[in-house]
């Protein structure tokens, strides 16, 4: 009888070990995936710019790399596609949607201008430029 009672005790150690191993696996693989998806955007420094405190959840972030390629949420877009997305957003949320342009520091202004003009065409006027206030 005593022996049976001892056998009933569940050994938690291997289970916890396996759970932690799984956590480590997922953390490592997710971090790697994120790194692969991360764009090589170098933002300009603006140490005296206004720090972002409250971000409007409707904000559309448009990334422009040094060769003028446009991305939203790491998805590369052509100008007509960007226009369509912005128009759709305006129809849904109105013209007060803020647009944040995250341009690479070496991107020519004409590339940025194309995005600004597309925003203007869609009726969006709350345009901001993203920069780094303080390096981590």
């Amino acid at each position: 009888m005593r022996k049976r009672d001892e056998e009933m005790g569940l050994n938690m150690t291997p289970m916890i070990d396996v759970v932690f191993q799984l956590i480590i696996f997922f953390v490592v693989t997710i971090a790697q995936q994120q790194k692969e998806l991360e764009m090589e955007l170098r933002l300009a420094m603006a140490p005296d710019g206004k720090a972002v405190e409250k971000k409007d959840p409707r904000t559309i972030n448009v990334d422009v790399d040094d060769e003028g390629r446009i991305y939203i949420a790491r998805q590369r877009l052509s100008l007509p596609a960007l226009r369509a997305i912005l128009r759709q957003s305006v129809n849904r949320h109105g013209q007060t949607l803020p647009v944040v342009i995250r341009g690479d520091l070496s991107a020519r202004h004409e590339y940025i201008r194309r995005v600004i003009d597309t925003c203007s065409e869609a009726g969006l006027w709350r345009i901001k430029f993203a920069a780094i206030k303080e390096k981590a």
Partner: protein, 136 residues
């Protein structure tokens, strides 16, 4: 006659803590090593003319402060200004009137970083009415 209940001397279920602490420390070390602090971002607001206004001939009032942003430098009211002097000049302008509109005329070939520099200096001197137009 009441039957006496036989007491079993089952061993107290004890969770071995050592492996768990080992794994927790491993996780802690992993996060400490891989953590990447996030940069503090700044958003630089600008005003843009509407597309209709862009199509019209751009009439810039002569008394308006114009800052030119070019590929290789800056200009203020059409006079070239070295980058080192730009801060002082914008500061002096701001001392006169912080509510005045500053027209930033950015050339298409100028790198985005140059525009951010000007916007940052305007932000530093609390000039809020900034209008950015693109020139060819």
């Amino acid at each position: 006659m009441a039957r006496k209940r036989k007491k079993h001397d089952a061993p107290a279920a004890e969770l071995p803590m050592t492996p768990m602490i080992d794994v927790v420390f491993q996780l802690l070390i992993y996060f400490i090593v891989t953590i990447k602090p996030i940069d503090v971002m700044a958003h630089l607001d600008v005003s843009r003319p509407s597309p209709e206004a862009q199509q019209q001939k751009l009439d810039v009032p002569k008394n308006l402060i114009r800052i030119g942003v070019f590929y290789d430098g800056f200009a203020m009211n059409d006079k070239p200004v070295p980058e080192s002097a730009l801060d002082d000049l914008i500061g002096k302008l701001a001392d006169l009137d912080r509510k005045q509109t500053i027209l930033i005329m950015c050339s298409g070939a100028a790198p985005h970083e140059m525009l951010i520099k000007v916007l940052n200096l305007c932000g530093k001197h609390q000039l809020a009415n900034l209008s950015v137009i693109s020139t060819n």
